[in-house]
Amino acid sequence: MASLLEVSGLTAAYGATQVLHGVSFEIPAGQITAVLGANGAGKTTTLRAVCQTVRTGGSVRFEGRELVGTATENVVRLGVAHVPDGRGTFTALSVEENLLLGAYVRRDRPRVAEDIERMYTRFPRLKERRQQQAGTLSGGEQQMLAISRALMLRPKLLLLDEPSFGLAPKIVAEIFRILRTINAEDGVSMLLVEQNAHLALGLAQHAYLLETGRVALSGRSETLMADEAVRRVYLGY
């Protein structure tokens, strides 16, 4: 299986605080990979390192291209879409404007319009609110909007930072179901950061466990779910 993303010896710091101490992992194309870990393990920083919104050392190779040192705007143009923690929606703009912005770097105008309709079919709640100001949407709807906006890029790799955060279980189930469909139907590879290990392992095929800035465990989801330590510490049983 081809490696879409190869991370090796990744280091990152916020000012004087070192957060990642040499993280290495690979994610295969066409699959969903989860990054698990407790608060402060460095999961969000890892995603930020991929889109270079934080200064990093080490190497991040996307389809063979080195991303470290590239501006975020150019990483996006290579086909990496990031749904940040906190959703990152343009709250003062309408739902439709948010979606249009997701396709900002694309040149194929007519297909952009088609894609917007596809998003509305997938997330009917967004269609009802297409002219509404994004900031007035509920948490779940904003998450759907954030994911749709990222998908408007037609990305090769979708980065998701804690999509379940602050949402009711029913909404989370709906969103995760849609993510599974997107991966299966459109072949979009995903790198999913989640504190909720049970949810993440249910969706992803592979997983990495981060502990204080290092990869502690890795393998297929079934393997991790069966692991004694993981079950006790992260799954609670």
Binding site: C51, P84, L100
Partner: protein, 290 residues
């Protein structure tokens, strides 16, 4: 009654100019959270450039368009070269840079074009069809020009892809980068637009107040008052603020405090708005948890 109405209409005409200057200020504030103190001097310099072209024999509208284009480019370059290095610097550093720009442009205007007061032509002939009972031809003409500028800007921001990207970059630069918007170029374009608007305002006001290096000093103050009154993060508010300040200035000057103290209206409005109503009429009320 006639006198009163004339004051109101003259106030509205002035208000357009103030509103335009305020709009340029708001545009830069929205994107950078800084007030460009050099806005007035940049506009004066642009007007001098237009004057020089007209002296060389250029037709009015040719000089007008060339000046607007050059001003846009100059604004863009100033942002890339001078402002970008201090983008993340503390507020005071940015204020110093703006004041430096103010002094440089003022001195440049005086040095290149000397300090004698010059007359600047109006493209609207005195007896043209634009003249009416309450408005001189130039007042009506400059009102229409400024309205056209404002409408063009509104259409640009509302309906074009670049306009949408600029709004996004101003509101949420981090998310804007995540969709591939080159945020620092958006700032540069914003500066270019602000400089271009300033140039138009300068060329509309010069026929009335005459052209010299200090032409826009007072008008900039009215521009600040308008921007603050309207809510410094709201472009629509900037325009309304301008109209209110223009009318208020004229009415108070004619009936209450006399024309000598007109500029104090602007100063009182600035201090009053910041003290009593910091968000202005249409701005966002910011509440911080302490």
């Amino acid at each position: 009654m006639d006198g009163f109405l004339h004051q109101v209409f003259a106030g509205l005409a002035n208000g357009c100019i103030y509103g335009s200057v305020a709009l340029a200020l708001v545009m830069i504030f929205q994107a950078t959270h800084h007030l460009n103190f050099a806005q007035g001097e940049m506009a004066t310099f642009s007007t001098f450039v237009a004057w020089a072209l007209i002296q060389q024999g250029w037709p009015y509208w040719g000089a007008f368009c060339a000046t607007v284009a050059v001003s846009f480019l100059a604004g863009l370059v100033i942002q890339r070269v001078i402002l970008r290095p201090v983008e993340r610097a503390p507020v005071l550093t940015n204020v110093n840079v703006f004041i430096g720009l103010l002094l440089i442009f003022n001195a440049l205007s005086g040095w290149l074009f000397d300090h004698t007061v010059k007359s600047f032509p109006s493209p609207f002939a005195q007896e043209s069809f634009l003249k009416s009972r309450f408005f001189s031809a130039h007042e009506m003409g400059s009102f229409l020009v400024m309205m056209a500028v404002l409408l063009a800007l509104y259409a640009f921001f509302r309906f074009t892809s670049l306009g949408l990207a600029m709004r996004a970059a101003a509101q949420n630069p981090d998310s804007a980068r995540l969709v591939g918007i080159r945020v620092s170029w958006m700032l540069a374009v914003g500066w270019g637009l602000a400089a271009a608007i300033g140039a138009v305002a300068g060329m509309m006001v010069a026929p009335v107040v005459f052209l010299d290096p200090n032409m826009m000093a007072g008008i900039l103050l009215y521009g600040f008052a308008s921007a603050l009154l309207g809510g410094v993060d709201n472009p629509f508010g900037a325009v309304i603020g301008g109209l209110i300040v223009g009318v208020l200035e004229n009415l108070l000057g004619a009936y209450v405090i006399g024309t000598e103290l007109k500029l104090t209206v602007a100063l009182v409005l600035i201090v009053g708005t910041l003290t009593l109503m910091p968000a202005g009429l249409f701005g966002k009320r910011l509440v911080t948890r302490v």
